[in-house]
Symmetry: C2
Subunit: 396 residues, 2 copies
C-alpha cells in the first residue's frame, strides 16, 4: 500500500464533501443572522427614508417665503417624530418640526432651531434658505426594489441594520453544515472523570467540537465509542446520520487488531489508507447511510492537524469565512524532517516575524500544539532546513 500525497487526499475529501458544502437555505430572524451567509441578494421592499422628513430640530418653512434679512412667520403647530399626517403648510406660516418628523406638503426647507428667534407664536428667520435644505427626501437613501445586500455576504451588524430599517425581520441564509463527531477508543474517558491505568482523557471530542464550530459549521451530535465494537458503533451512528451532512471520526483506522472505524467502513466500501504526512499518516474516507465519513487517526495532535488540513478549509468556505492565512516565514532555528512525508510541524512566531519549532513531531504532544500559533508545512522531499530558510506556514 503506497502512501497517497496530502494534496491528493485533500482533493478526495473535497470531492466527497462537495454535496455537504452545497448548503441549503433557511430563513432566520435578524437576531440569529449575525455572521451567517446571505443566501441571495435582498432588495428593499420600501423607499428609505420611508417619507420626506426633517434632518434637524427646527421649523419647516416654504423657502419662497424667506426674504433677505429677517422674515417673521406664524408658528401653526408642531410635528414630532411619531405617527402623524400633518396638514399642508400654508404660505407665510412655519411649523415646529423635530428631527425625523414628516415634512408637511407645501414646506420645502427646514431651518434649524438655533438659527431662529422665537417670540410667542412667531418665529423670525434671519436669511433665505435653499429649497430642500435639511430635508431628507423619501427614497434618497434607497429606492424600493434596489438591492440592499448581495447574496453570499457574511452578515455584519450594519447589514442587519439596513434590513431592519427596510422593515425586514428575517433573512434567508445558507444553512450551516451539520457535522456528527465520533471519537473511538476503549481507552477514552471524559475529562473530569476518574481515570485508571491505560485510560486517557478524550481530547478529540472537545477539540473537534470546538474546531467545527470555529469553522462556522454546526455539531449535531457527538458520539463516543469505547468498546471497539463496529456493530455497536453502527447502531449509534444510524440514529444521528439522518440529520448530518458530514461524519468526522477519530481513531480506529490504523494497523492494529482493534480498529473499530476500519471494521465499520471496510464492508461499506470505505477507503482506509496511508497518507504521506506526519502527523496524520492513517486517513480514511467512506460513506455511511449516504453521509460522507472523513476519518482521522486518534492521536489528538493527528486528529487536530488532519482536521485543519483536510476539512477546515471546506467548512470555512461553506460558511463564507476567510481561509486560514498561509504565509512564508523565516525559520528561527534548524529543523529536520522525515523523508517522503509532508510534515506539519508545530511552530510559534517569535520576535522579528520568525518562526520556531515547538517541541518534536510526536503526535501525542497536545501541549506543544496548544503552544503553537502556526503549522510549518515542510514538503515531502525536504529533510533538513536551516535557520534563515523560508518555510510555508499555516496559521492556527
Amino acid at each position: 500500500m503506497s502512501a497517497v500525497s496530502v494534496d491528493r487526499h485533500a482533493a478526495r475529501v473535497r470531492s466527497l464533501l462537495a454535496r455537504a458544502m452545497a448548503t441549503g437555505t433557511e430563513r432566520v430572524p435578524l437576531a440569529d443572522a449575525l455572521g451567517r451567509l446571505s443566501a441571495s441578494a435582498v432588495s428593499s421592499p420600501v423607499d428609505l427614508p420611508l417619507f420626506r422628513n426633517s434632518q434637524m430640530d427646527g421649523f419647516a418653512v416654504r423657502a419662497a417665503d424667506l426674504a433677505e434679512g429677517d422674515t417673521a412667520l406664524r408658528i401653526v403647530g408642531e410635528i414630532v417624530a411619531a405617527p402623524s399626517d400633518p396638514l399642508p403648510l400654508l404660505a407665510g406660516t412655519a411649523v415646529r418640526i423635530m428631527t425625523g418628523a414628516v415634512v408637511p406638503e407645501g414646506a420645502d426647507a427646514v431651518v434649524p432651531v438655533e438659527d431662529t428667534s422665537v417670540v410667542d407664536d412667531v418665529v423670525t428667520i434671519h436669511r433665505p434658505r435653499r429649497s430642500g435644505e435639511y430635508v431628507r427626501d423619501r427614497g434618497s437613501d434607497v429606492r424600493a426594489g434596489t438591492e440592499l445586500l448581495p447574496g453570499g455576504l457574511r452578515l455584519a451588524p450594519r447589514h442587519l441594520a439596513v434590513l431592519a430599517a427596510a422593515g425586514i425581520s428575517e433573512v434567508a441564509v445558507r444553512t450551516r453544515v451539520r457535522v456528527v463527531i465520533v471519537t473511538t477508543g476503549a481507552e477514552l474517558v471524559d475529562p473530569g472523570s476518574p481515570v485508571s491505568l491505560g485510560q486517557v482523557y478524550d481530547a478529540n471530542g472537545v477539540a473537534l467540537d470546538a474546531a467545527v464550530r470555529a469553522c462556522g459549521a454546526r455539531v449535531v451530535a457527538t458520539i463516543r465509542n469505547d468498546n471497539d465494537d463496529a456493530d455497536h458503533l453502527h447502531d449509534s451512528m444510524v440514529e444521528v446520520a439522518v440529520g448530518a451532512d458530514v461524519i468526522l471520526t477519530s481513531g480506529g483506522i490504523s494497523m492494529g487488531d482493534h480498529e473499530v472505524v476500519r471494521d465499520l467502513l471496510t464492508p461499506l466500501g470505505g477507503r482506509i489508507g496511508h497518507i504521506a504526512m506526519q502527523p496524520g499518516g492513517p486517513q480514511a474516507t467512506g460513506s455511511f447511510e449516504g453521509v460522507p465519513v472523513i476519518s482521522f487517526p486518534g492521536n489528538p495532535v493527528s486528529t487536530q492537524i488532519s482536521f485543519e488540513v483536510f476539512v477546515a478549509p471546506l467548512l470555512r468556505e461553506a460558511a463564507g469565512l476567510p481561509a486560514a492565512v498561509r504565509a512564508p516565514l523565516v525559520l528561527a532555528g534548524d529543523l529536520v524532517s522525515v523523508p517522503g512525508k509532508r510534515q506539519f510541524l508545530r511552530g510559534r512566531t517569535v520576535a522579528g516575524g520568525r518562526v520556531e519549532v515547538v517541541a518534536g513531531p510526536g503526535s501525542h504532544l497536545v501541549a506543544s500544539l496548544a503552544a503553537s500559533d502556526v503549522l510549518i508545512d515542510v514538503p515531502e522531499g525536504t529533510t533538513e532546513l536551516k535557520a534563515g530558510d523560508t518555510v510555508e506556514t499555516l496559521a492556527l
Copy 2:
C-alpha cells in the same frame, strides 16, 4: 456649549466603563469556552502522557534482548489501549502492544509490527533497537504542575484540547460584559410590523444587539421606549439595570422638545453634550442605578458609528478580541468635509487598495453604511482632500 473633541469624549467613555471592563471570572464547561478569555493561567494536574505508552502498533520488548541479526522472542500476551495493568515483561519475551497502550515494566522499546515476522507465538525481530524507541514516556509532553495556558488567552480549539487531555472539564474565563440596549423614539416600530406615516422601523435595536455580540459582549436586555416618557423609561430600566455592566441608549439626546434620554439623565447628573464629529454630534454619558450609561443619537448611522468609535474598542478589549484595523489608504476621489468636525465618512475599498466615499455624509443613509467596509476618518481641521491623498481608515 462648545463641542468636545472625539478623543476627549472617547477618554470619558473609557473612564466611565473602566469598571465594566474589569470583568469577573466564571467557570464554564469546555464546550462553552471557545473564544472566551482564560481568566488565569492553567497548570496541568497530571503528567501527559498519563503513563508510559506505545507510539506504534507492534511488540514491546527489552532492547537488551535484541542481538545483531534476527532475535526470536516468545509472545506472552497482548496489551490494548484500554484500562489495563500489565505484568512486567520478562527477559526473552515480547508482548503484542497497540498504539497508546501501557508499556509494561521491563520493556523499554516498541518494535513496529511491520518490522517483525510472526509465526504462531514467536515474533522475530530483525535488528537491535534503541532503548526508548517508539515509547512515549510519562510526562514527556507535560509534567504535572506545568502551565498549560496563560491567563488572558482567547481560547481556541487546540487550547481546549490540551485542557481536556489533562482531564480538565471546565475552565475559568472572564465574564462577558453585560449590556442593556435601549432604543427610544415615538416613531419606532418593529421590522416586520405595519408602519404608518411618520413611523420608521427600529434599526438601532438590531444593529446594537448584533454589534455588542460581535464585540464579544452579552446583551442581557433590549428595551424600546416609544412614548417619550422619562418616568416610564426609568421604570423599565430599573428592572434590567441590576444585571448590567453598561447601558447603551440611542436617540432622545438632542435639542428637541421631546428628548427622553436627556430628560432621564439630566436630573441624575448626566452630561449631554455636543461632540465635534459627524455623524454623531450629540452624545451623552451618565449613570443609572450605578450602571454607566453611554448615549448615542438616534439616527441609525450615527448610532452605529458612535458605537464603533466610542464603545466597540472597549468591548473588544474586554473580550480579548483584536482592535479593528486602522490603516492608511489612498483616496480614489476627492472629498470635502465640514470644518471643525471630525468626519467618519463611509468608504469602500476598491481595486488597487484605494478607498472611495460611499454616498454622502447624511446620518440616515443606512444603505450606504451597509455598502461600506471602512470608515474614513477625516480630522477636524481638514475640509478638502484630493484623489491620491492618503486618509486614515477604520475597518468595519
